[in-house]
Every structure is written in structure tokens, then in C-alpha cells.
């Protein structure tokens, strides 16, 4: 009998059954109301597709917020609960109840359904607790010890009550189950805090009291169908149970403490002296007061508040965290310099702050040499070091750049650039002839986020104040963006990059793509293809490389001198050193390193702090995994482009979003208020053209002087992207 014959026999049988059914439906039409049947059938399908599926999809999406060990039990519990609700719904609604037949739907189905759902919820919660404990051996031991202590205490108390004739067989079973659950809760909650007998005992008493309150006063009345009243009169009836529960809790607490101490003693005996915990708390030093460093320190503060024993110090040569995304606004006179820096000390609670410049790191002796203080030098010893020194502008040893180009890395850079541009406008107003064109030409090197935003902001600045300089009205200011790659804003999708280019080009900004800057002279900039642009202003955002401190570390280095770390953010090959931010090369899930942005540095700081805390308390480390949320680029003229989780936005709405997002990210309520005020004032008044005293050009960052440490030269060309903080 071939498969084909079998198949056709099946079709035939099925078809026959269907025809029988349909025929019967029609023949008995009077009784079966085929139209009503079809309506009901069709309605079921429509209800499924129109109601059930969207609800299921929505709930499923909502569940994405739960992490994996918790997601499956929660989802399973919800599925089971949904099915039970569906089945019970007609009965809860009382459909079909008749006055003359009390035996139909006689039960309180609402209450019963709630009871069944509670059971499902408890089962799911227990499954989640179990899978959580499975990954945390420490917590599991505590819970089990607590349960054992509870059981022992329960046996004692129950036998006491049985001797006085207060318990029967079911009473025994219930009270033992109650004791075990209470003990487990006690272990989970108090296991870490029970450092001495008194604390353990009081925790036990408290948990016993809570147990009594939640069971006798709340759950039991609910199950009996009454509303719980937490009145003294009601409670007085269950006084005996209160005594029993409190006694049980106290005994369990004492037993738990005994168990924990015994375990600790056993562990100490079996692991003699090899790595005794230091009597003094471990010293953690963070170098760098940028996004990475400050977020590490803040996260360690949080751990310290929860009991982590550690001495944390943050060393930085500036005492404020610079909010780099708003630097272009400072350079274009739209924001005040001090409003975009948040003092570090205000953000730290437990961490100590040291204002100084780190000269060298001695990884062998675990000492950081800082240039500060009366003696001029201080040696800060450490047990664990976090390197968050970030990146510095890199001029590729091109002639003239270090002397003439304006970087945009610090507040000083931005202020200098602003004063220079305004100074150029003043000079141009004095002069006549073609020199004015040279004075009013502004070249920006680097077409990443920093360069694009800067040129757009400078354009807005110059064109916004040009009317105040009467002698330059006939000269058109010129803005040129030089970019080595094929298109600007390479992190964005091609479409958005093209759009941005077009918007800027339409305003009159010139672009030199696939070109590099070759030389900078006092009055001109020479490009790689030979073109010379007469200008007095060259802003440089086309290259950053990691701070020389990172390059000097005796570890493996990546492109440009960044320190190679593993996915836990530990530096390989050097004991006790971690690295985050622009100065580190962190492997991503797909093998490509994470880009150097502020978004990433912030989260890397949190992860490294969590990992250090885990290391110090014997827990497992977590890998750093982050999928960027999106990118926003402001293009001046109240427009911006944004790409958030795949959604592309542009125009005024994107610009408002840019302002809203960065205002929200700015640390400190006071700073937010000031920046908001600056922006609001900008709506009504033109930009400020007052020149302010310019900080002098800083000397290039000296190579660190570590005796014997190998110097590494980051001579390979960094990417043209530039380390733009997003």
C-alpha cells in the first residue's frame, strides 16, 4: 500500500466526515441554525486573530524586560494562569445560573479563581527563586541553612505545642511547612546581616512577626472569604499563634547564626592562610574624571552604601566632569563654559577625590605617582586600579598642527576657539580687501559627530552675529569641512549621512571628502590633494588617540595605543588593573571592539564597578554587553538627525529630541537649570560676542616617566571617525 494511496484514503475519510457534518447541519437546519453556527465559528476565528494574538504579542513584548533566569517561569506561570482564567471566565460571570437550581454554579468562583491564580503565582515565584539561587551558591547556602534552622526550630516549637495539646496531625504538617518557609526567607534576608548573635536573634523575631501577620492576619481571612482587618481585637484572638511564631523566629535566628559561624569556621580551617583577607579594606584607585571614571566611582559608592568594604579614590587633573556633547555649544557661544561641567565632588559620596596630574603608574609596586601637594609628588598605593584616562587629540605629527590647530577636547579648547572666531570677526571689521576672506574662512578637519556639529554651530554663530560687524557685510564667510572618508557621519546609516550632507551643503558649507589635511601654516591650510585654503582657523577633530598613560602600561595594546582588555574589562597580563572608556579596547559580542563614545564609557564604568565588587565579595563577574540605544547629531538651524533603535528621525523634532536627551543626561539639577536657561535666553537674544580672557594653549601631554616601563608608540593612523562622545 503506497504512501499515495494512504494519503488519498485519508483525504477521502476526512472529506466524508466534513460532508456528513455539513449535510447534517443543513438538514437539521431548524434545530441547528447553521447561520448562527457559522457566525459563532467565524466569530471565534476573528476573535482569535483580532483579540488574542495582539494581546499575546503585547504581553510577550512586555516580558522582554525580564532577564532570562526569571523570564521562563514568569512566562509559563502567565500562560497557565491565562488558560485557567479563560476556562473559568463563564463560571465567574455566573453565566447559566438559575434561581430554581442552587446546585448549578454553587461555588464562589471569583474567590476560587483568585486562589488558583495565587497558587500559580507562588509556583512561578518559587521556580524563579530556585533558578536564581542556582546561579548564586552563596545565597543558596544561606537559604538552605535558614530552612534547616527553621525546620529544627519548628520541630521544637511544634512539640512544645503538641505537649500542651494544641496540635493535631494536619496542624503538625502545616506548622512544619510554615517553619521551613519562614526559615528559608530568614536565610535569604538575614543571612548576610547576621554578624552577631543579637542581630540574628532580632532578625528572626522580626521575620516571625511578619510571618504571623501575613498568614494569620492577611492570608487566612482572605481564603475564608472575609476582608482582613488588622485590628487589635482580631489579632488578640491569634495571640497564641503570635507567641509561637515569634518563638520560632527567634530560635531559627539563633540556629542560623550558629550554622553560619560553624560554616565560616570550617571554611577558614580548610583553606589555611593562602589568601587571607586583608585586615584593612582594599584600596581602589580610579584615574580619570570623565564619563568612565565618574560612573565607576558612583557605582562603587552605591556598592559601598550596600556594605562593600573598600577605600576608593578618584584622581583627575580637572575637578569637574566635562559634558563633552555640549562642547560645540560652548565654542559657538550658545552655552556658558561652566554650565557644562559638573563638579566631581558633588557627584561622589563615599569616594575620595584627589586633584592632581598622574605622572606614572608603577604596576609592579602598585603605586600611582601624582604631581600634587606640597612636595610636588605623591605616591598613591592601590590594590585595584581602574584606568579611565580617555583620549587626547592626535595630530599625526603633521607640520604646524600642534601650533596652529584648535582641538575641541576641554573647556579651555572650546573657549579659545570661541574667542578666536570672534576675534577674527573683529579683525575682519577693521581690514579691507581680500584679507577679510582669509579671516572669515573657517576650516574644520574631521567629519564625525564632533566635526559636523562644530561646523554647524560655528556657522550659526558667525551668521547670527554678522550683522553687528558693518564692514564685513559684503564678504561671505566660508566654512569648509575636510574629511578623509567617503561620507560624513559614518556611524549613521548612509541615508541619514547623505541627508545631513545635503542640508549643510544647501546652507553653503563646503565639503572636501576623501581628503586629509597635510599642513597648517599661519595663514593657510594645505590639503592632501594639493589645494591650499587661505584661513586663520583650523579646528581639529580628525584624530584622537588614547592618553599616553594607557600607552605606557606594560600590557598588550591595540590600534593607537589603547589597552586591550577582556570582556570583563580586566587588563590582561597586569595584576589588578582594569580599563574603561576611550583608552581601552573592549571586545564586543561580534568580535568588533566597542566604539569610543560617552554612552559606552558610562556603562563600562558601571560594569567595571560591579565586577570589582563581585571580585571582592567572591561572586562571579559579568561580561560587558551593550547595544547602543541610538545616535543624535545636531546640524544647527534648529535641525538634527537621529537614529534610535533603527528608527530614523530628522528635522525640528529631532533637534528638540537632541536638546531634551542631552539636557536629561547632563549631571546635576543645577546644571540642567542653567543650561535650560541659556537655551531659553538664546531664543530671544542674539549670541554673546564679548571676548573673554583666553586660557593659553596647553603644552602637549608629556610621555609618562615610569622607570623601566617600555614606551609604546601609537603611530598607526587612528580611524577618521574621531572619538566622538555621543
Amino acid at each position: 500500500m503506497s504512501a499515495k494511496i494512504r494519503r488519498w484514503a485519508g483525504y477521502g475519510a476526512g472529506g466524508a466526515l466534513i460532508i456528513t457534518g455539513l449535510a447534517g447541519l443543513l438538514v437539521d437546519a431548524a434545530r441547528t441554525h447553521p447561520f448562527g453556527w457559522a457566525l459563532w465559528f467565524g466569530g471565534l476565528i476573528v476573535a482569535h486573530d483580532a483579540l488574542v494574538v495582539p494581546v499575546v504579542l503585547a504581553v510577550g513584548a512586555a516580558f522582554a524586560v525580564l532577564r532570562e533566569p526569571f523570564r521562563s517561569p514568569a512566562r509559563a506561570g502567565l500562560v497557565v494562569a491565562a488558560v485557567v482564567c479563560l476556562v473559568a471566565l463563564p463560571m465567574v460571570l455566573g453565566i447559566g445560573r438559575r434561581a430554581d437550581n442552587p446546585s448549578l454554579l454553587p461555588l464562589d468562583y471569583g474567590r476560587n479563581l483568585i486562589a488558583v491564580l495565587t497558587v500559580i503565582a507562588l509556583a512561578a515565584a518559587s521556580a524563579m527563586a530556585v533558578s536564581h539561587l542556582r546561579t548564586r551558591p552563596e545565597a543558596r547556602t544561606r537559604v538552605l541553612l535558614g530552612a534547616a534552622a527553621g525546620l529544627t526550630g519548628g520541630l521544637l516549637v511544634s512539640s512544645l505545642m503538641a505537649v500542651q495539646g494544641m496540635l493535631d496531625a494536619t496542624g503538625w504538617a502545616l506548622s512544619l511547612v510554615n517553619a521551613v518557609i519562614m526559615g528559608a526567607v530568614l536565610g535569604a534576608v538575614a543571612g548576610r546581616r547576621a554578624r552577631d548573635l543579637a542581630t540574628a536573634f532580632s532578625c528572626g523575631v522580626l521575620v516571625g512577626l511578619l510571618d504571623w501577620a501575613s498568614w494569620q492576619l492577611t492570608l487566612r481571612p482572605l481564603l475564608d472569604g472575609a476582608v482582613p482587618t488588622w485590628s487589635i481585637g482580631f489579632a488578640g484572638r491569634y495571640f497564641r499563634d503570635l507567641v509561637g511564631d515569634v518563638l520560632l523566629g527567634g530560635i531559627a535566628g539563633v540556629l542560623l547564626y550558629a550554622g553560619l559561624t560553624a560554616r565560616q569556621a570550617a571554611a577558614a580551617r580548610s583553606a589555611p592562610a593562602v589568601s587571607a583577607a586583608p585586615a584593612a579594606p582594599p584600596r581602589i584607585v580610579i584615574i580619570g574624571g570623565g564619563f568612565g571614571g565618574v560612573s565607576t566611582a558612583r557605582r562603587l559608592d552605591r556598592h559601598a552604601a550596600r556594605g562593600l568594604r573598600a577605600e576608593v579614590t578618584l584622581i583627575s587633573d580637572t575637578n569637574a566632569l566635562l559634558f563633552t556633547p555640549m562642547l560645540a555649544g560652548v565654542a559657538s557661544s550658545s552655552l556658558e563654559p561652566r554650565h557644562v561641567s559638573a563638579p566631581v565632588r558633588a557627584a561622589l559620596s563615599h569616594t575620595a577625590f584627589l586633584h592632581g596630574h598622574v605622572d606614572a603608574i608603577d604596576t609592579a609596586r602598585r603605586v600611582v605617582h601624582v604631581a600634587t601637594g606640597e612636595q610636588g609628588m605623591a605616591a598613591v598605593p592601590y590594590d585595584l586600579l581602574v584606568l579611565a584616562v580617555g583620549s587626547v587629540p592626535h595630530y599625526f605629527d603633521l607640520p604646524g598642527l600642534a601650533e596652529h590647530a584648535f582641538a575641541l577636547k576641554t573647556i579651555g579648547d572650546a573657549t579659545r576657539l570661541r574667542n578666536h572666531v570672534l576675534g577674527m570677526l573683529e579683525r575682519a571689521d577693521l581690514e579691507t580687501g581680500s584679507i577679510r576672506a582669509e579671516l572669515l574662512t573657517f576650516v574644520v578637519a574631521g567629519g564625525g559627530f564632533a566635526g559636523t556639529e562644530l561646523i554647524a554651530e560655528l556657522f550659526d554663530l558667525v551668521h547670527g552675529v554678522l550683522h553687528q560687524y558693518p564692514n564685513v557685510r559684503d564678504v561671505e564667510p566660508r566654512f569648509v569641512l575636510v574629511h578623509a572618508g567617503e561620507r560624513i557621519l559614518p556611524e549613521l546609516s548612509a541615508e541619514l549621512g547623505e541627508y545631513a550632507l545635503e542640508r549643510l551643503r544647501r546652507r553653503g558649507i563646503e565639503f572636501r571628502l576623501k581628503t586629509v589635511v597635510a599642513e597648517s601654516r599661519p595663514g593657510a591650510v594645505r590639503l592632501g590633494d594639493g589645494e591650499t585654503i587661505p584661513t586663520r582657523t583650523l579646528a581639529w577633530t580628525a584624530g584622537n588617540h588614547p592618553h599616553p598613560l594607557a600607552a605606557a602600561l606594560p600590557a598588550e595594546h591595540g590600534r593607537g595605543g589603547s589597552v586591550v582588555v577582556d570582556s570583563f574589562l580586566r587588563v590582561a597580563g597586569v595584576e589588578g588593573v582594569w580599563a574603561v572608556g576611550d583608552c581601552a579596547l573592549i571586545p564586543g559580542a561580534d568580535g568588533r571592539p566597542y566604539p569610543p563614545t560617552a554612552q559606552h564609557a558610562l556603562r563600562e564604568g558601571r560594569t567595571v564597578a560591579d565586577n570589582i565588587a563581585a571580585l571582592l565579595t567572591g561572586r562571579s563577574l559579568t561580561e560587558f554587553r551593550f547595544r547602543g540605544i541610538g545616535v543624535l547629531v545636531a546640524l544647527g538651524h534648529r535641525t538634527a538627525v537621529a537614529e534610535i533603535r533603527g528608527h530614523r528621525l530628522s528635522g525640528l523634532f529631532a533637534w528638540l529630541l537632541w536638546r531634551a536627551v542631552y539636557l536629561a543626561k547632563l549631571p546635576g539639577g543645577e546644571r540642567k537649570a542653567r543650561v535650560l536657561a541659556d537655551w531659553l535666553i538664546e531664543l530671544a537674544f542674539p549670541r554673546d560676542i564679548a571676548l573673554t580672557p583666553s586660557p593659553s594653549r596647553p603644552a602637549p601631554e608629556p610621555r609618562p616617566s615610569t622607570p623601566g616601563a617600555p614606551m609604546s608608540n601609537g603611530t598607526t593612523a587612528s580611524s577618521a571617525r574621531g572619538a566622538r562622545h555621543e
Binding site: G14, L22, G24, V53, V84, V87, M91, P106
Partner: protein, 352 residues
């Protein structure tokens, strides 16, 4: 995001329908769980097939027990046969719902791919047979020949998925089955009937008030008449019935709704009454009720049943006189018999 790409594609293609197609394909691509696999679908499909077949077969049994064709003679033993088949039929219904939803969820993405009551059960089952025939090759491939290589993650998540579905079915059964399966009656918190709740501790389907007999049963001129192809007609009062030899038996009432309850019935054997009236061994009796307007106002009792010593015309339940809702003054009670055929308020037995 899906709309975005759909619009983009439509703009690129220039076809309005293209946007819809792209949208649909985009939706299908969003279902990324590996549980949308053939293997899971097949396993659920097998359970569903079993469940539907059981429901169909037990449903047919129930139908033919209530309306037997002339040639069909149902046996009167085992006593609990109808109780079991109907219990399985009704309780199995809610238990199938999670299976159905699980199966729909598993195959849902495929539904988006382009170039898509008594007679109702025939249609459904016929459709199922055709569907199974179609998918048979997949069943063989996935269950009997382990052809596909799986990663480590798949079996675990598959087992979790199937386990969840099984748990849902199991819990639904657990909270309803007690209405027919006595040992689990304490757990039946979501069953439409609770065993032991009702007049005289037994639930009721059709009350005296609903049947419209509350006045008639109290009339002093009530007679139980045995007539038809009998040697001598009988017309008995309640007192005379009580005077005949009484026997007691424990039998369940198995309602077509899916619940059942056992009770101790005391009364007159139908066989004794037949002997008294003089009836041939293969006669068919029609027991008629005082109720006027119901398709179940009378029921046929065929030879296997009325010859069974356990078939009674009962006068008392659990020692006390029948409640009107339970059929006062006389009701029929027999083993292996659907509840609707256990005629209440019996007034006439017609022999043919």
C-alpha cells in the same frame, strides 16, 4: 521599524501591493523564537490529534447512548461506563484549549507566508483528518527518525514550552475533574458543579419548577401505570409501590454536562414490576414522565437494562424520600445510563 522598511521598500519598488507584502514578510520575520519549529508543532499536533479523537469518539458514544438506533443494544454493565466516557469528554474539552493555543502559537508565523454540535464535530474532525493526512510525512520525520541535528539549547526550551502547555492542561483538568471523579472533589474549585451540593446532597440538572411538575407530583391521585403489551395492566398508588419488596443499590447519576454523583437508591426493581405485569423477555419499555414538554420526557429501556437487577424505580435516595427536584414520587435509575435517560417523575411504563 517594520513599517519603516515596508514603506522604504514600497517606495523602491513603486508598487502599492509591495508595501503590504513587505509588511507581512516583516511581521513573519519578527517571530524569532526557535520554538516555532516543525518538531514542536508536530509533537503538539500529535497530542491534539489524540485529544480531538478521544473527544470525537466519546461524543459519538454519548450521542448514541442517548439516541440509540433500533438495532443497537447498549449493555448495562459496567455500571460506570457512561460516567467515565462523558467525564472524559467534558473535562477533556478545557484541557485541549492550551494544546490548541500552543499549536497555533507555534505555527503562527507560517500563517503569514504568501502566495492561506452534533454536526459541527463532524466538520471539525473531518478537517482534522485531512490536516493530519497532509502533515503525516512531517510526523514520521520528526518523531520516528531523528533526522535533524539540534543545538544544545533547543531541547531544553522545547521541553519547557511543552511542559508549560502540559501544565496548563493539567491544572485545568485538576480544578474541574473533581465534579465527576470523587477522590479529587476537594480540588474542583472551578467546576460548574460541586459534588455534594444540591438537594439531598446530589446536584440537579432539571428542577421540578423548570419541568413544570411541582403541582402535579403532589396530587393525591397519582398512579404508576404499567400498560401496553402486558398480560395484566397495573395501576399502583405510592403506598402500594412502597409495599412491594424494596431493594437498595448504589448507582451514579452521570449527567451529559460532565458531572456525576453517586447515591444510595431504594425502590422497586423494574424487573419485579415487569414480572408482575407479565412481559416477554425481549420487550422494550418506554418510561414516561409527568413532564409534558421536553424531548427527554420519556426514555426507552431495552432488554439488557430492564432485566438487570440494578435497574430500579426508586422511591428514596440515601434513606429519605425523594426530593421533588430528584423526581418525587418515582424516578428511574439504572446502571451505565446517561443522566437524561434516568427519567424523573415517572407516571407510566409503556411496554411494546
Amino acid at each position: 521599524m517594520v513599517l519603516e522598511s515596508a514603506v522604504t521598500d514600497a517606495q523602491v519598488r513603486g508598487a502599492p501591493g509591495g508595501a503590504v507584502i513587505t509588511l507581512v514578510q516583516g511581521v513573519s520575520g519578527r517571530f524569532t523564537s526557535r520554538l516555532h519549529s516543525e518538531r514542536v508543532a508536530v509533537q503538539l499536533g500529535v497530542w491534539l490529534g489524540v485529544s480531538f479523537t478521544v473527544a470525537f469518539v466519546t461524543g459519538l458514544i454519548s450521542h448514541f447512548m442517548q439516541h440509540p438506533p433500533a438495532w443497537m443494544l447498549w449493555p448495562s454493565r459496567p455500571v460506570n461506563l457512561y460516567r467515565v466516557t462523558q467525564g472524559v469528554h467534558v473535562i477533556g474539552g478545557p484541557a485541549t484549549i492550551p494544546l490548541l493555543f500552543g499549536k497555533l502559537w507555534t505555527v503562527y508565523p507560517k500563517l503569514w507566508q504568501w502566495p492561506p454540535f452534533r454536526w459541527t464535530s463532524y466538520v471539525l474532525y473531518g478537517a482534522l483528518v485531512i490536516h493530519v493526512t497532509n502533515e503525516w510525512a512531517k510526523v514520521r520525520r520528526n518523531l520516528w527518525t531523528a533526522e535533524c541535528v539540534e543545538t544544545q539549547e533547543e531541547p531544553r526550551s522545547r521541553r519547557r514550552f511543552l511542559g508549560t502547555v502540559a501544565a496548563a492542561s493539567g491544572l485545568t483538568v485538576l480544578v474541574t475533574v473533581g465534579e465527576t471523579f470523587a477522590p479529587l472533589s476537594k480540588l474542583a474549585v472551578l467546576a460548574p458543579r460541586a459534588p455534594g451540593v444540591g438537594p439531598q446532597g446530589v446536584p440537579v440538572n432539571r428542577t421540578a419548577v423548570a419541568a413544570g411538575v411541582s403541582q402535579m407530583i403532589r396530587r393525591p391521585d397519582f398512579r404508576l401505570v404499567v400498560t401496553g403489551a402486558v398480560r395484566s395492566e397495573l395501576s399502583l398508588t405510592l403506598t402500594e409501590l412502597s409495599g412491594m419488596p424494596q431493594h437498595t443499590v448504589r448507582l451514579p447519576i452521570s449527567c451529559v454536562e460532565g458531572w456525576s454523583a453517586e447515591a444510595g437508591w431504594t425502590g422497586v426493581r423494574l424487573r419485579d414490576l415487569a414480572e408482575r405485569a407479565g412481559v416477554v423477555p425481549d420487550a422494550v419499555m418506554v418510561v414516561e414522565s409527568l413532564e409534558r414538554s421536553s424531548i427527554y420526557r420519556s426514555s426507552e429501556v431495552r432488554a439488557p437494562h430492564w432485566n438487570d437487577p440494578l435497574t430500579f424505580l426508586a422511591l428514596r435516595i440515601n434513606g429519605s424520600v425523594l426530593d421533588p427536584d430528584h423526581g418525587y414520587p418515582v424516578r428511574l435509575i439504572a446502571p451505565d445510563r446517561p443522566g437524561v435517560l434516568q427519567t424523573k417523575w415517572v407516571t407510566r411504563v409503556m411496554v411494546s
